[in-house]
Subunit: 269 residues, 2 copies
């Protein structure tokens, strides 16, 4: 355990730099903050390489558990913790973790009946919320297509509420993803305005890959054309679309509900 008191300490500067994607990629590390999220990490058998905590958190049993698991612990002020995470009130702990994206070819598509695929998703809150929903519906993981916002940003990790540690995260270009998808079983289901198929009228087969598009543009036409199925949700108001994380959740719960009714999804060849 080391005590760090100065804002100008080089280690503070280095950890703080992990708020930038460029530095995360260069170092292969990312930040997570708050007892709840760090405990989720431990429960998923992921320990922080560094644990930063305030002096007064020493007696907390969860902090002690984290400290026992962490590579190294640093005791510092609440102000410095805020500086590390960029949040006014980051709670009593900040952790530095190794990034662990899963290469597509290492994904075990048989481990879950639902997978979520997001294309050019730009909002870190949406991305984190989709991870959190993925965890809730028992999805296998999230596959990010094209230029998505970074799943390891502080904002995305925060919105995931720890699901960044329980869901597989893969990143791929579209042709690479399609080649992988078609190399095994899987039904690709796009949410789209360009269909008349109601999302409750369709039958989902396992594993179902739910494909959601960019917040502003939706899915490109050729991506929609490559789907096995396009569905849409009823829209009863003035607007023609839902928030991307909301649309993903409504779809994912429909797939889960069909599975609950049938006692399992049909396998899709």
């Amino acid at each position: 355990m080391r005590e760090i008191t100065g804002f100008s300490n080089p280690l503070v500067k280095q950890v703080r730099s992990l708020r930038d994607k460029k530095h995360r990629r260069a170092e292969g590390k990312f930040l997570a903050e708050g007892l709840r999220i760090l405990t989720e990490a431990l429960d998923a058998a992921v320990a922080p390489e560094m644990l930063w905590r305030t002096p007064d958190s020493a007696g907390h049993p969860l902090v002690q558990r984290l400290e026992a698991a962490a590579g190294e612990t640093f005791v510092t002020s609440a102000d410095i913790l805020s500086k590390l995470s960029g949040k006014d009130n980051p709670g009593s702990v900040v952790g530095v973790f190794a990034e662990f994206p899963t290469p597509l070819e290492a994904l075990d598509r048989g481990k879950a009946d639902i997978w979520i695929v997001a294309q050019a998703l730009r909002d870190p809150g949406n991305l984190g919320t989709i991870l959190r929903t993925g965890d809730a519906v028992g999805a296998g993981g999230l596959i990010l297509i094209d230029d998505c916002t970074d799943p390891f940003s502080v904002e995305a990790v925060r919105a995931s509420m720890g699901a960044i540690f329980t869901q597989s995260v893969s990143m791929a270009r579209w042709p690479e993803f399609m080649a992988w998808l078609r190399s095994g079983p899987g039904q690709l289901v796009g949410t789209s305005l360009n269909t008349t198929t109601d999302y409750q009228a369709a039958r989902y087969d396992a594993p179902t890959f739910i494909l959601v598009g960019n917040e502003a543009q939706g899915l490109p036409a050729d991506y929609e054309a490559a789907c096995d199925l396009l569905v849409k949700m009823p829209m009863r108001g003035k607007a023609d679309s839902l928030n991307a994380a909301v649309a993903t959740a409504v779809m994912a719960y429909e797939v889960l509900n069909q599975r609950r009714r049938s006692g399992g999804l049909e396998r899709y060849a």
Copy 2:
């Protein structure tokens, strides 16, 4: 039409101050930005008191339509527009609108089968997303209980994607809300972890009031006790809760789906 070129113009300062809740309340006005959202406002027959636009947007048909409807138009630089909205890229228009919360007693509960009630909601993105979902499911409006984040903040308005103009918004304390609710028909349905009733096993009667709690704490115990029905969504992962806007949407679509199946919800006395 007036041209405004200086950052120090008192009108710029005054409009910019509407980013603070204190000033919004004092002036009874709020900001909305972007062509898409301002067009939603017009479509809902709500015109901006002031329209701020960039010079190069003059030829755009939607801008012309907005300008014809606006109380007054100001032409200014993109930099000043950014300063007004606090967003790097606010698009080509910013509007100043009169706040229009609806008093509880003025709500017509018979106009819709679904209403959303949020308690101590803190995140403006969640609030705006819930408004957007409300519009999508044909809800009548959003009732905010206790200390919620301001629905007229720039962030909430942005996340609503214009639904702030199509959904009724009311604000009330809990006892006041309950007195109003019980003065007429309505089923109060809380989403909760403290029940074994699956959200798909319950029957929803119209009008259904979906009650969602604070992001971190959920609903207070006595609020849950006052509900006609508590339901929970299946959670298949490590976490025990969904994002508040996601939970609201999954619930709201279930109510809508039951209504679609039955050709209408049963009236609830």
